[in-house]
Subunit: 332 residues, 2 copies
C-alpha cells in the first residue's frame, strides 16, 4: 500500500502526522492511482454539492427562476459568507418566492476568519443565509417550489428533493443503492456516505460529461471560483490558477474532490482524521503527482505555496514550521 | 502493539479516526501500560509548564515576589484569558517590576470561545497578557529579575531562564541532554521535544515528590484548577472532579499529561495528528482504564461526559454524532 501523509513540522522536527486516503480514477471508475485505502467509506459532505445541484438544472428549476452561472456556482459552493455570497443567496430565495426563515441550514461562524471577526466586531446577527451552504439550500428550496413540493422538511431523507439528490449521486457514482448510506450533514441536509473511489468516479464523469446540466454546472464553477469558496480559499485559488484544468471542491472532515477534464480523471481524498488544514496540501500533492506523470499543465497551481505548504507561525508571527505532504501515489 | 483510537461518528457511522500514543509509567520510569508508540518523540508543549515553573519556586523568586498558590497555578497553566486570568498575570508582572510590553508571548484569540467572541464584540485589543501562556511568561520574567539577569530575550534558547527550565526538564524526566531537543513554542518560548514515556516519567515523579518546590506547585494546581485552564475546560473540570487524585495538564497539538499521586503513576499521551478535540477523550479513557485496573477512585471524573464523549451537533444544534475512545491499553 502506498501512503500519502501530511506532516506538520516545528523547529525542524515532525510534530504531528496525518494519513490520507486517495483515489484517482477514470470515468469508467478504473483506479489509476491511489494512496492509503481508496475504498475508504466516509461521508462526501460538501464535495457532493455539484451532484446535489444537478436536478436543479436538469429539472428546469434553474431556468425557471433565472439562475445563471453565478447562482449555480453558489449552489455548488461552500462559501465564505462574504457580502457577495450573502446577497446572492438572498436573491436566489427571492427569485423562487422563498424567505430566509425557510432555509433549514443553521447559522455558524463564517469559514473566512476575516468575515467572522468583522461580523462579531460589527455586532451583526449571523442568520441562515450566512451559512456556507446557503446556496445549496436556496437551490433545494427552488427545486421544491418548481415541482410544487412542500418546502417544509426539504432537507430531510425521504423528501422528494433529497430523493432527487440521491438519484444523481447514484447516477454519477454508478454505485448501487445499498453501497450508499445516508446521514445528516452539519447544515441539516442529507449527506451521503460512500467510498472515496466512488466519489472520484463521479468527479471524473462530471469533468468530461457532455450532458447539458453537468456542463452548465462545471462551467459555472470554473467561471466563478470566488463563489464556490471565497477570497483566499483553496478551491477558489486552485480553480483560478489552473485556468480550466481543475474543478475543485472541498468537503468537511478532510474531504477534497477534483475533476481533471483534460485527462478525464477524477480525484477524491479523505484525511483520515478529518483535519481541514491538511486537505489542501494533500490535494495539491495529488494534482502535482498526477500532472507530472500524465504531462498535464496545471497553470499557476504549483505557485500556491500558501495552500501546498502553509507556514505555521508563533503568536508573534514568526515562522516556526509548516505543513507538508510526503509520500507518493501508487500508479496502477 | 495495543491501540487507542478516538473516533468521530456521524449518523451512526465512523467518519474520522485519530490514533493516540500513550505511556503510563511509575516514578522509576518503568512502563506500566501503553498504547501506540510510548517512545513517540514530540514536543511537550504546554504540558511542560510545571517543570518550566519549577525554578521560579526553587530559586526563591516566587517567595521574593509574593507569588502564592494562585500565581503558581497560573504559571503552570494555559488559561482561557478570562478576566481573573488577565488580572492575575498583570499583578505578577507588577510584583516583579515588569510591564506587559516585556512579555515575549504574542496575543492570540482566547482559548475560550466565549471570551474570544466577547472580546471581538467589545472591540477590545487583545494584548500579550491575554496569551494563555502569560502566567508562564510572567514567571520567567520574575525569575530573570530575581537573578538580576537581562529580561530581554528571556524566552530564547541559551538565556539563563531557559537553561534553568532545561535543567528541570532533564532532572524530572531523567533524560540525558542528548535525548531532548529544543524548539520554539507558539508563545515564542523554548519548548522541549522528548519521548512520551519521558513526559510520563516526569509526571509520575511530580505527583509523588516530597521536594518542597514540587509539592508547592502540585498543591497550587490542585487548589486552583480554574487558573490552570478556565471555565468548562478539561484540565479544570478533571482536577475539580477528581478531588486530588489527578493533576492534569494539556499541551498543544494533542498532548495531555497527568499525575496520579495515589498510584505513583504518570500519564502522557499524544494524539498523532495533533487534534485538540481528541486529547481530552483520550485522557479520560486512559484514566478510566488505569483507575479500574488499579482500583483507584476518580471521584466525579466518570461523569464528565462533555469531555469523554463530546457531542457533535448540526448548525441547528441537533446532536448528529460524538467523539469516543476505542481500544484498550496494554498493561505490562
Amino acid at each position: 500500500m502506498s501512503t500519502l501523509t501530511i506532516e506538520t513540522t516545528r523547529s525542524g522536527l515532525v510534530e504531528s502526522v496525518h494519513a490520507v486516503s486517495v483515489a484517482v480514477v477514470d470515468s469508467e471508475g478504473a483506479l489509476v492511482a491511489s494512496a492509503g485505502d481508496p475504498q475508504r467509506f466516509t461521508f462526501w459532505r460538501s464535495a457532493a454539492k455539484p451532484f446535489q445541484a444537478m436536478s436543479l438544472v436538469r429539472d428546469g428549476a434553474a431556468e425557471r427562476y433565472g439562475f445563471g452561472s453565478r447562482e449555480l456556482a453558489l449552489a455548488c459552493g461552500s462559501h465564505s459568507s462574504e457580502p457577495m455570497h450573502r446577497a446572492l443567496a438572498a436573491s436566489m430565495l427571492r427569485a423562487c418566492g422563498c424567505e430566509e426563515h425557510q432555509l433549514a441550514c443553521g447559522p455558524h461562524p463564517p469559514l473566512s476568519q476575516a468575515v467572522a471577526d468583522e461580523a462579531l466586531r460589527a455586532g451583526v446577527v449571523i442568520t441562515p443565509r450566512w451559512s456556507n451552504c446557503s446556496g445549496k439550500h436556496a437551490g433545494m428550496l427552488a427545486l421544491a417550489r418548481h415541482h410544487g413540493w412542500n418546502t417544509a422538511g426539504y432537507e430531510r431523507a425521504g423528501h422528494p428533493v433529497q430523493e432527487r439528490a440521491l438519484d444523481e449521486v447514484l447516477r454519477w457514482t454508478g454505485e448501487p443503492r445499498d453501497a450508499v448510506r445516508l446521514g445528516v450533514d452539519g447544515c441539516t441536509a442529507v449527506c451521503f456516505a460512500l467510498s472515496v473511489r466512488a466519489m472520484a468516479t463521479a468527479y471524473a464523469r462530471f469533468g468530461t460529461s457532455t450532458e447539458a446540466a453537468a456542463r452548465t454546472l462545471r462551467e459555472a464553477m470554473l467561471a466563478h471560483p470566488e463563489l464556490v469558496a471565497g477570497t483566499g480559499r483553496p478551491c477558489t485559488d486552485v480553480m483560478s490558477a489552473a485556468r480550466g484544468a481543475v474543478v475543485a471542491k472541498v468537503g468537511a472532515e478532510g474531504i477534497y474532490c477534483a475533476a481533471l477534464p483534460g485527462l478525464g480523471l477524477g480525484v477524491a481524498l479523505k484525511v483520515e482524521d478529518g483535519d481541514m488544514r491538511c486537505s489542501p496540501p494533500a490535494l495539491l500533492s495529488v494534482l502535482r503527482q498526477v500532472g507530472e506523470r500524465r504531462g498535464l499543465g496545471l497553470g499557476g497551481v504549483a505557485d500556491l505555496r500558501q495552500h501546498s505548504e502553509p507556514v505555521l507561525r508563533t503568536t508573534r508571527g514568526e515562522p516556526v514550521g509548516a505543513l507538508r505532504a510526503t509520500g507518493a501515489l501508487r500508479f496502477h
